[in-house]
Amino acid sequence: MPFVCFAILLCSCASRKVFTTNYYSGNEKVLTSIEQSYKKLYQQKHFSVAFTDRSFNYVSFEILTDSIKYIYEFDIRENKLHDTLIKYNFPAPEVISLVMQMRSIQCSWIHNLDYYTNNQKQSMVFMSIRHISFHLPFTSEKYYILTFYSQPQYYDSEGRLLANRRLRKLRKINDDIFHRINDKVCYTVSERFR
């Protein structure tokens, strides 16, 4: 019995490491496609998408207007999402295609996140992917978080994301330290998905 427990623990650690190091390169095409589609759609109308359940059947769709944020929940197997998108003048086929792409890679949340550098507002695309390969009972859920920037970012010698070039301070998002994937993309593993 102790051997089995040890083996399970070992497998879970190994799978997590593999997940973080290889995930982006293995799924780069679809991840980039999701990011680009979202960015394009967000320019037309501001919104964010979250899958709220473990089976990726229910989606929370947040529509941001100048004065109010509408939060809807839909079963993606029904037509209500489509009807609501039409009601709010979204390009429904493109948005539904984005939602389905997210579902295909267990992406729990996509959002346009504002941040500030030298008092200047910037934005990035924030994406969380649920790590469902193995999950020990009574442990908190882990998410693979990817952030996509418009500009190349600064990193320290260990590949950790820095606040800016002058300030050698680590940039934290939701209190997490991020690591370099490439000049414009970073990742972390977090218990928070948004």
Binding site: T52, Y70, E73, S108, Y116, P137, S140, A163, F193
Partner: protein
């Protein structure tokens, strides 16, 4: 006969006491009630006051708070009270939620306090005397990676001064500010502390139901909330994981962690309730089932103004 006669003098004194008692009490009581009213003011009064302090000199207490940005932040809050933002991943949601009251109903009181605190490093607000710790004074204006809060030094100062001053049982093990504590228990707020802050700072009547662990036993949540909204400002203490629906794990801690201001409830199709609330500097509207709404809410605080005629 003269007043020097002991009998006459006694009768005179008794009569005098009676006159004061009967005639004086209502006036005295009226005055007392007058002093126990909730202060209110207008946006214009606050902006006029702020205009007089536009050239605020740099504070020797708040070294990292730029005076121009501080004044601009106050102006933005007065002009757009719903825009106050607690910052990403901080525990400032309660302080932002209670700011709804002064920013909507007494912006002048809020502005005077903020200017005083900035200039003198100490100030009175309602029944509370604030003199934030040195650590807080140094940290205000330096918080980063919190989204828009990064560029709102007055809000950083306000939230940190409140967190530093008011303590509840959640703050027992983390009473003094250290870097990063804005995300930790130092800034946490339990339901009783939230209600106490509103009573002490803004002199509101606060009628609260619910607690930090158990939900209030309300049969018809829609009726209850719509009735409360008619009477005053309603704050809700909710489970944030439920509010921003997340059902990714079977093991969920069912506790409230987030304060919002309820703005409207409306019955919609399929026996659902459309709930409009304020949080994170924005109004949000969600359609929820009554069952889910009841599950979400752990505390309801009704805040009503105290008025001179007791109504």
């Amino acid at each position: 006969m003269s007043l020097l006669n002991p009998y006459i003098r006694t009768v005179f004194c008794v009569l005098l006491v009676c006159i004061i008692w009967l005639g004086g009490t209502p006036a005295f009581a009226y005055d007392a009630r007058n002093t126990d009213t909730t202060p209110v003011s207008t946006k214009k009064a606050a902006l006029d006051y702020l205009a007089k302090h536009r050239q605020l000199p740099e504070s020797k207490y708040w070294l990292n708070v730029d005076p121009d940005r501080f004044v601009q932040n106050l102006k933005n809050n007065i002009e757009n009270p719903l825009g106050i933002y607690e910052g990403r991943s901080t525990n400032f949601c309660a302080y932002a939620a209670l700011s709804y009251l002064p920013l909507h109903h007494d912006p002048l009181g809020y502005t005077v306090f903020m200017i005083e605190l900035y200039r003198n490093g100490k100030a009175m607000y309602g029944k509370e005397y604030f003199e934030p710790s040195r650590e807080v004074k140094l940290a205000a204006g330096t918080l980063t990676f919190k989204g828009e809060l990064d560029v709102r030094p007055a809000d950083q100062l306000w939230f940190m001064a409140l967190a530093d001053h008011f303590k509840g049982y959640l703050n027992f093990f983390d009473k003094n500010y250290n870097s990063g504590d804005e995300n930790k228990l130092w800034a946490a707020v339990n339901f009783a502390k939230f209600n106490r802050m509103i009573r002490r700072l803004f002199n509101y009547d606060v009628v609260a139901v619910g607690s930090d662990l158990f939900r209030p036993g309300i049969r018809d949540i829609y009726e209850y909330l719509s009735d409360r909204l008619q009477k005053g400002t309603v704050a809700l203490f909710v489970n944030n994981l439920d509010l921003y629906k997340k059902n990714h794990t079977s093991l969920k801690i069912d506790v409230p962690t987030h304060f919002v201001i309820l703005l409207d409830v409306e019955e919609v199709d399929d026996d659902k309730i459309a709930v409009t609330y304020w949080d994170y500097g924005f109004r949000s509207r969600q359609i929820l089932s009554p069952k889910f709404l009841k599950k979400l809410i752990f505390g309801i605080a009704l805040c009503t103004k105290k008025t001179a005629d007791g109504r």
